[in-house]
């Protein structure tokens, strides 16, 4: 079990969550016949981080009830999953701080919160032409003061007459134009193929 933990730690350190998921899924299949515990909690939080709520839900359904009873952290992780599934922003921020996570899970939960905030912020800037501070606070789980600070940092304009209404600034996506040797190879292959 110890070398599994080391493997998983290295995936987390490299932020390779898809690879971590593949690794844990494989472990789960092997654990069925073996005598070790499948890494349900790591797998569950990894699904949440990459946004695969579907498979997170199936994982929760197939965890044996005995394991769920013995491991209350799993239940707490699933509450986060449920909040995400129902797109209930206040509940999400409440459930991530409602439990004393162990060290490994705690790191991953912090990563999830940060990532979710960034994703939501992008969505808000894309989806609103005028937004109130209240809405921003609820969606980002920040206090009113922190919200105002964030808005000031990002340069959102306040509505000239009405207080508490802001105009989001759209985020510029940087287009990386890059062609490489691999692309040239592909193009050569196409030409050869078309000449057949």
């Amino acid at each position: 079990m110890e070398n599994y933990e080391a493997e998983m730690q290295s995936f987390i350190a490299d932020q390779k969550y898809e690879a971590l998921i593949n690794y844990c899924e494989d472990l789960e299949l092997s654990a069925a016949m073996g005598d070790f515990q499948a890494p349900y909690d790591i797998l569950l939080i990894s699904y949440l981080i990459v946004g695969d709520l579907n498979n997170a839900r199936f994982l929760w359904k197939r965890i044996p009830s005995q394991t769920k009873q013995q491991n209350p952290q799993l239940g707490a992780l699933w509450s986060i999953g449920q909040a995400l599934w129902n797109e209930n922003y206040p509940l999400f921020y409440a459930s991530v701080s409602a439990y004393e996570w162990n060290v490994m899970i705690g790191t991953m939960v912090s990563i999830l919160i940060e990532q979710f905030r960034q994703k939501t912020f992008k969505l808000l800037s894309r989806g609103f032409s005028m937004i109130s501070t209240n809405t921003i606070s609820t969606h980002l789980g920040l206090s009113p003061e922190d919200t105002l600070q964030l808005i000031a940092e990002r340069g959102w304009e306040e509505h000239p007459e009405i207080e508490g209404m802001f105009k989001p600034k759209p985020i510029e996506e940087i287009l990386r134009e890059g062609s490489s040797l691999a692309d040239l190879q592909s193009l050569t292959n196409y030409v050869v193929f078309l000449h057949k």
Partner: protein, 432 residues
């Protein structure tokens, strides 16, 4: 029993066909042996290198018919599959099929997730190295995954193109093909890949058949619901499907037909009523969750349709027009914006939502990569088709058929035949 084991020891390296014949003849002896004798023989023959695969296969498959301890059986078969030798397995594919079926049944009763890895291995062992052979073990694997709720583990098997069948090698039957596509469709549904699911279900319902199978009826029900979710325009049985199916569908699947008609009215209220009326039938078929997803899909479609008519609309108007009364409209629209299902901007100040065109200019590296991948796949598909085409063109049956049709159906088997046959063959060879 001793004799059987000895035969296995002696003949496994030397003559597998002879061994197989002897094993066929000794099945009575194996059946009549005591459980202890049987267990002892099994332990004697099990080797991690799989040298005695054929012998072990016969012993284990006889065990299937007798009373046995499930845990021991599961362990033995799991070990057997991982150590099995492909060459020996292919000598008795029917026995292997029976063994795997029993194994799947037992595992699904105990703990379905156990069967997933072994059955995956079994597919590679009995199939061919390129993995495009459909085996009976395919649907057994899918069934275990579904019962274990471990859907993601088998998606690679579905995406890998499986297009060949070899009855002699794998003992695959027509039922296996239908089950593969049916279970495969269910797995795609679980992963919310509705287009792939629709394609798989369509494969089931359009199987050539003289008698309609239950699998086809159930697949049709899911086909209708999944087609509605992707808002496809046709949910009818394809014209190339069997007549029997078309007739049976009318009598057995009427709730689904009504549901589809109700969807076309675009009225969320009507659809909900229809769902309530037929809820018992949907629950019985295990399709209630899917039907609810159809409801969701109609709500989304209604909102998306508004973008074609209006530039700006108030939140209350959207709610009334789309028939949504639950009051979480902002969240719903936000969610649709996130998933790229609609392009809009919400104005909280005056409660209006303005729709605009997609900002996608298709000039980024992501588009290029996507195009690249699609072209590669198309080239691969073309090459596969060319291979299959050539295989058929050079097969005996095809050449004979061409000859006969050239002759206009006359059946004179004179000496001219040989020359004609040879010249046809030569022609097809040079055509390459």
């Amino acid at each position: 029993m001793e004799e059987v084991v000895n035969n296995v020891f002696v003949l496994s390296e030397v003559d597998l066909d002879d061994l197989k014949e002897r094993l066929e003849n000794s099945q009575e002896i194996i059946l009549r042996s005591t459980p202890d004798q049987l267990e002892q023989a099994i332990t004697q023959l099990y080797l991690p290198t799989g040298d005695y695969t054929l012998g072990l296969l016969y012993l284990l498959s006889v065990k299937c018919i007798l009373e046995f301890d499930p845990t021991v059986f599961i362990q033995q078969v799991t070990g057997f599959i991982s150590s099995a030798n492909s060459v020996q397995l292919r000598k008795a594919p029917a026995k292997f099929r029976l063994l795997c079926e029993k194994y799947t049944d037992i595992c699904c009763q105990e703990n379905p997730i156990i069967a997933i890895k072994p059955l995956s291995e079994a597919i590679w062992k009995i199939g061919n190295p390129t993995g495009n052979l459909l085996t009976p073990q395919h649907w057994m694997l899918l069934k275990s995954a579904i019962l274990a709720k471990c859907y993601h583990a088998v998606v690679p098997h579905l995406k890998h193109s499986v297009y060949n069948i070899e009855n002699t090698l794998t003992n695959v039957e027509s039922k296996d093909v239908r089950l593969f596509y049916y279970y495969g469709g269910i797995i795609f549904l679980s992963q919310k890949e509705f287009r792939n699911a629709v394609e798989f279900f369509r494969n089931v319902i359009s199987s050539p058949a003289l008698v309609t199978s239950v699998i086809m009826i159930e697949a049709y029900k899911k086909y209708v619901l999944a087609s509605l979710i992707i808002n496809s325009t046709t949910t009818q049985v394809p014209r190339y499907a069997s007549n029997g199916l078309i007739r049976h569908v009318r009598s057995l699947c009427s709730p689904y037909e009504e549901f589809a008609t109700s969807y076309r009215t675009n009225s969320l209220e009507d659809l909900s009523k229809c769902l309530e009326n037929h809820s018992e039938e949907f629950v019985k078929d295990g399709n209630f969750g899917l039907a609810k997803q159809v409801l969701e899909s109609l709500a989304r479609e209604n909102i998306a349709r508004l973008t074609k008519t209006y530039l700006t609309l108030s939140i209350e108007d959207i709610a009334t027009q789309a028939g949504l009364l639950d009051g979480h409209l902002i969240e719903r629209v936000l969610s649709m914006i996130q998933k790229g299902q609609v392009f809009a901007k919400i104005n909280e100040l005056d409660g209006m939502i303005s729709f605009h065109e997609s900002t996608e200019k298709y000039n980024s590296t992501t588009t290029l990569q996507y195009l690249d991948k699609q072209i590669h796949e198309t080239i691969g598909l073309y090459e596969q088709l060319t291979t299959i085409d050539n295989e058929i063109a050079f097969s005996n049956e095809y050449i004979h058929k061409i000859l006969r049709s050239d002759r206009g159906g006359s059946r004179s088997w004179s000496g001219m035949d040989e020359d004609d046959y040879n010249s046809s063959l030569a022609m097809s060879m040079s055509g390459m």
